[in-house]
Assembly symmetry: D2
Homo-oligomer: 342 residues x 4
C-alpha cells in the first residue's frame, strides 16, 4: 500500500483525487491538509464522499507528510514549491497539480506567474507528467509536474503532427473550451451560476498562463520554434475540455493513420474513426482523451478535435496515472472507470 | 460468472446498465438486443462505452436469451410481459425495468397503462425489487419487478414513518422532481434542450402512472388505506430525483432516530445528520439514496428530503443490486462507485 | 417624466430594474449609487446595458437623491430603513426591494433578520406592494415594501382559495422552487456554476425568512391563523420561481372558476385553462404570473401551480408596476414585454 | 400598418418573429400558416404568447397571403422557393429565413442542399439581407434572403479586415459555437436535453452548409478567392452564437480603429473596447452583434470575437430589421429591446 498525503483537498481537483483514491486498491490515504478547515470531516465539505473518506482535514503541522510515500499538492500556484524540498529530502515523492514545476524557463515562469520561484533546483529535475510523452522519466521522478488541463488536451492533439514534422509550425491555432470547474472552487462573481450558465465567452485571448506550458511541450517535440495562437473559452458545463486545433499540412499524409499509429497501445488515448466528433461527455468522469482528425474538403488544413475531462485526464486522473507509473503499478489501477453518460 | 442478456439496450437505463455490467466482476455480458439497430456495435451508439463493451446489437432471434442466467428488460412498458414466460420456463431469471410486473391489481394496471396484461400469472409471483423492503423474497425471485424511479425515492422517504405508524395517512404529499433523463431517450419536442433547459414545470399533476405503484407500496406498509397527492416536476438537469415529502405527525417522535434505526446497515441508504439538505449531485452516478428529515419550527409536520440518481438507484443500479441478491453475491459488487461531484 | 434614483444597482434586481427603466417612456434615470464602484460606467459592469444606460455609479453623497421623485432601494436588508426617513421628509417616495418594510410585527422582523429596526414608524405606514391585493393603498404610498419573490408566487397562488374561505387553513403546504439568480450576485461557493448546475436541493427546510412574510399576507386574507409549511428549493436555472401549493378543500367548489373570477382584469396574472402546467420560461423576462389549478383524481386536495420570473414580478417588474400605480400611469407602461422563449 | 403573413410559425425562429411582431408598432399580423396545426391557437403551442398573439394557425390555402404586404418564410430549406414566385407576382414582398435565395451559384446550392432549385430567376434578383453590407439594395428588394446565423456572426467579424485588405485570405479560420436552438424545434435525439446538456462537441467539421454562404460573402468583399476553414460547435445553452475568428495580418494596422470606423453609426453592431471578451448573454434576446478584436502578444495574428443571438440578429431580429428597411421605417422600430441578463 502506498501511503498518501494530500495538501489542499478543498478544491475540485482535490475532491476528484479523493474520489479516485477512495477506491484505489493500493492507496492508503493518510492525511488531507487544510489550514482553514482543520478538524472538519472531509465528508462534511463533500457529502459525495460520505462513507468513503473518513478522515478529517488536519493542519500541515499535524499531517506528518514526511512519513508518506507520496504527497499530492492540489493547491494554488506557489505552494508546492515552498514545501517540496523538505519532502524530497525526506524521501517523499511529490506530485504537484499546479504550475510550480512545469516551466523550465524560470524567467518565463516568473513573468506569467508573477512571483519569485522558491525552488529553482527542483524545477531543473522535475519531470513533466504527460505519460504519452515522458513515460520513462516519470518512473523515477521525485518531483512530478502534473500537466495543466488545456495543455494536456492541446498537446495530445498536436503532438502526432509535430513529431512527424508534417505541419507548418509558424501558425498553429488552438481554440480551446473548458467547463466551469476548470476555474476552481473559489467564490468569484464571474463563475456564479447566474453569470456562467446559458452563455459563452472567450477569455484571456491576449495571453493565458497555459500558453507557455503548451508552447514548451510543442517546442520540445518540434526541436524548434513554434508559433501558436491559443484562445480559451468558458462553456456552461461543469466538466470537460474540447480543443479544436488547426494546422496547415506541409505534405500529403494520411493523418488518420498517423494518429492511430502514434497512440496505439496507449491506455488512455482513443483515436476515433475518421469523420467522428468526440463529445466531452464521452469521457466524463474518466481518464480518457478521445481524438478525431479531419481534413475539411480534403484541403491542406488539418483539424484535430481533442476532448478530456479537465478534472481527470486534465488533473486528478492523470496524477493517479503518474502515481501508478512512479510506483510500478498497472497504469490503469483505480482508473478503470467507464465514462458517465448521459 | 453470470451469463447476462439485455433486451433493449438503446435507452438511458440500458446504457447505464452496460456501464455497470462492463466492470462488474461476476458479469458476463452475452447479448444485447435491438431490433432496429441489429448489427451496429453498441459502442457506436454510445461512445462512452468504446473499449469497454465490444458486443454488437443483435436481433432477439439471434440472441439466444434462453441460455442466459438472467435477462434484463430495459424496454418500454408491455415488452417484458410478452417474453418473460418463455424465459422463466427455460430457467432464466427476469429483471424488468418497466412497469409490467409492479402492480398486483391488474385492473388498476390496465387502467393506467392502457393495455391488456399478457402474463397475469407472472404478476402474481413477481417480486417487487425494493431491497430495503423485500430483500428476502428477492433472493429467490424468478421475475423481479425493478421499481420505478419516483417510487423508489418516495417510498424510501416515507416507509420509516408509515411502518412506525406515526403519521396521518390520509393526506400525504409527495412533491417530486426529476432530471430529464427520466423521460428516456425518445425523440420528443418537450424534452429537447431548448424546451427543457433554463425552465421548470410540473407535469401529470392530475395523475401520473407512478402514483398507483407508490400507493401500493405504502398501503402494504401501512396495512390500510393511504391518501397520497403526488406531483412530479421536470428539472433542467440530466440525472437525479429529489422527493420532498410532507406528513402530519400523530405523535411526538424523534424522527431523526426513527430514520437512522430503520436504515442502519443498509448499504445504499444514507440518513444525513439532522438539519441537512441532500443535493442530487451527492449521489450522482452512484446507487445511493440520501435522506434528511426536518420538523419545521418544531411543529407537527415532518418534511423528508430524499434523493437518488434516477438511472442508478432509480433503475440500473437497483437492478444490479437485485441481481447481486438473486445470485447470492455481495450486494455492493460492481456498485462501489463514489458519486461524481462536481 | 419621473426623476428616479437607484440605490445599489450592482445586483441582479438592480440590473433588471435598469433594463426596464432604460426604455420606460416616463422614466428619467438620474442617479445610480454604489459606494464600491463609484466612477465606473454602469455599462462596464453590465455590458448588456451598453448604449442604453450612460450613467456612472456615484457615491450616495453625490447622488442628490432628495431631488428625485422616487428612489428604488435594490439593496440588502437593513439599508433602506437607514435612509428612507430623510427621503420621505424631502418628499421623495421610496420603493424598497428588501424586507425592511414588509413585516408589520417588529419583533417577528427582528427575530428573522437579526437586527434592530431603524425606522419603526415607517413600517407602520409602509404599504405592502402586491397590487392584486393592495392596489388602492399603493396609489398614495410614501414608502412601498416591494414583496419578496417567493411571497409573490405563493400568495398569488393561495389568495383566491383563502379569500373564498374554501380550504383548511391549518395545514397548507408551499413547495417552492427558485432559479439561482434569487440568491443574488454575491460571490459565494454554493451558487457557483459547478455547485448549482446539474443538481437540485432544498434549503431552509426548517425555516426561511420568507415564511413570516407569506404568513402575514395569508393571515390578513384569512382573518385568522394559518398553518403553513414552506420549503424552498434551488433549481439549476437562472430565472424563475415555481410554487406548488397544496391545500385541503373544505367544500366542493369550482376552483377553476374561482381563480378566473378572482384575477379577471388583472393585467399581470394569467389563469391557464384547466389541466395546464405553466413553465417558468413562459413568463421569462416578463412581469407575468401564470397559474394553473388541479384537483388530482377529483379528490379533496387542490394543487395550485404558480410561476413568475423572480427578477420581474418577483422584484424589479413588480417595483415598476408599483411605481406606475403610485404615479398614476398606465400600470403596464414599460412592462409590455413578451416573454422570451425559448 | 404593414400587413404581414408568416409561413411556418411553429419553429423557434417563428415564435421569435411573433414575439417581435406582437409589439411592433407598424406590424399587423394577418395570418400564420401551418399545415399540421391548422385551427390551433398559436398561443396554445407557445404559451409565452398568451394574450399577445390571438391568431390561430391556418392552412396555406386559407391564409390569403397574396393580400399581405410582406410574407416571412420561417420554413425549412426548399419551401419558400416553391411559393415566392406567385407572391412576388401579386406584389407581395418575401423574406426567407432559409437558404433558398442566399447562394448565387445554383450548382453550389444544389450540391449542398441536395435538391433542384425551383425558382432560379428569383435567386438572381434576390438581395442578401445583411444590412451592414447591402443596406441600399435591401430597400427595394422584392425577395430578401435573410442570412444564416453563423454567416451573420462570421461575416460581421471578418468583413472589416477583408474590406480593408489587411489579412492573408488563404488561411482564415472561423471557429464558431452555437446554442442548441440553432438546430430548430424538430424532435431529434441529438438535441435532447440529456444529450446536449453538460457537454460540448464540434459537428460538421468536414463541411457545413453555412460554409458556401460565408465564403460567398467574403469573396464578394475581397474581390478574389478566400480560403476559409469553418468548424461549428454545439454549446449547452439555448441561444447565442460566438464566432472566434483567426487571420494573419499582412500589415501593421490599428485593428481596433479599423473596426470602430467600419461600424460607426451601425445601430446593431457594437465594437467593444480593446481587451474585451463579449459574452453571448450580453446580446441575449436583442438584435445586437458585439465584437472585440485582439492581437495576442502583439503578433501578426488577429483574433476577432463576435457574438449574436442566433434567433435575433441571426434570424428573426435581422428579418425585422430588413423589413423596417424595406418599408422605409426606422431601422430600430420594434427592436429597441435591451438584452436580458442574467
Amino acid at each position: 500500500m502506498i501511503k498518501i498525503g494530500v495538501v489542499g483537498g478543498t478544491g475540485y481537483t482535490g475532491v476528484e483525487l479523493l474520489r479516485l483514491l477512495a477506491r484505489h486498491p493500493e492507496a492508503q490515504l493518510t492525511a488531507i491538509t487544510s489550514r482553514g478547515e482543520a478538524g472538519m470531516p472531509v465528508a462534511d465539505m463533500f457529502p459525495s464522499l460520505r462513507g468513503r473518506v473518513d478522515l478529517r482535514f488536519v493542519t500541515p503541522a499535524d499531517a506528518e507528510l514526511e512519513r508518506c510515500d507520496v504527497v499530492f499538492f492540489a493547491t494554488p500556484n506557489g505552494i508546492a514549491m515552498q514545501q517540496a524540498q523538505a519532502l524530497v529530502a525526506a524521501g517523499v515523492r511529490v506530485i504537484d497539480f499546479a504550475a510550480d514545476f512545469r516551466i523550465r524557463d524560470l524567467t518565463e515562469w516568473q513573468k506569467w506567474y508573477g512571483m519569485e520561484h522558491a525552488a529553482p533546483e527542483l524545477v531543473a529535475e522535475a519531470v513533466y507528467g504527460l505519460p504519452e510523452r515522458n513515460r520513462e522519466q516519470i518512473r523515477n521522478a521525485r518531483v512530478l509536474a502534473n500537466p495543466g488541463c488545456y495543455p494536456t488536451a492541446v498537446q495530445l492533439g498536436l503532438l502526432p503532427l509535430i513529431e512527424a514534422g508534417v505541419v507548418d509550425l509558424s501558425h498553429l491555432v488552438a481554440d480551446a473550451k473548458s467547463g466551469v470547474s476548470g476555474a476552481g472552487r473559489k467564490a468569484e462573481v464571474h463563475t456564479l451560476f447566474s453569470e456562467a450558465a446559458d452563455s459563452f465567452k472567450a477569455y484571456g485571448a491576449s495571453g493565458h498562463r497555459h500558453l507557455p506550458e503548451i508552447r514548451q511541450g510543442l517546442v520540445q517535440a518540434a526541436g524548434g520554434e513554434v508559433g501558436l495562437t491559443f484562445v480559451p473559452h468558458l462553456v456552461p458545463m461543469i466538466r470537460g475540455i474540447h480543443a479544436t486545433l488547426y494546422a496547415r499540412l506541409l505534405k500529403d499524409v494520411d493523418v488518420q493513420a498517423l494518429f492511430e499509429d502514434r497512440y496505439r497501445g496507449e491506455p488512455f488515448v482513443d483515436v476515433l474513426p475518421a469523420g467522428s466528433h468526440p463529445e466531452t461527455r464521452s469521457v466524463r468522469a474518466s481518464n480518457l482523451c478521445r481524438i478525431a482528425v479531419h481534413r475539411p474538403q480534403g484541403g491542406d488544413v488539418v483539424v484535430v478535435l481533442s476532448v478530456i475531462d479537465n478534472l481527470m485526464k486534465g488533473a486528478a486522473g492523470q496524477a493517479v496515472q503518474n502515481m501508478n507509473i512512479m510506483f510500478g503499478l498497472d497504469e490503469m489501477l483505480g482508473l478503470d472507470l467507464v465514462p458517465v453518460s448521459p
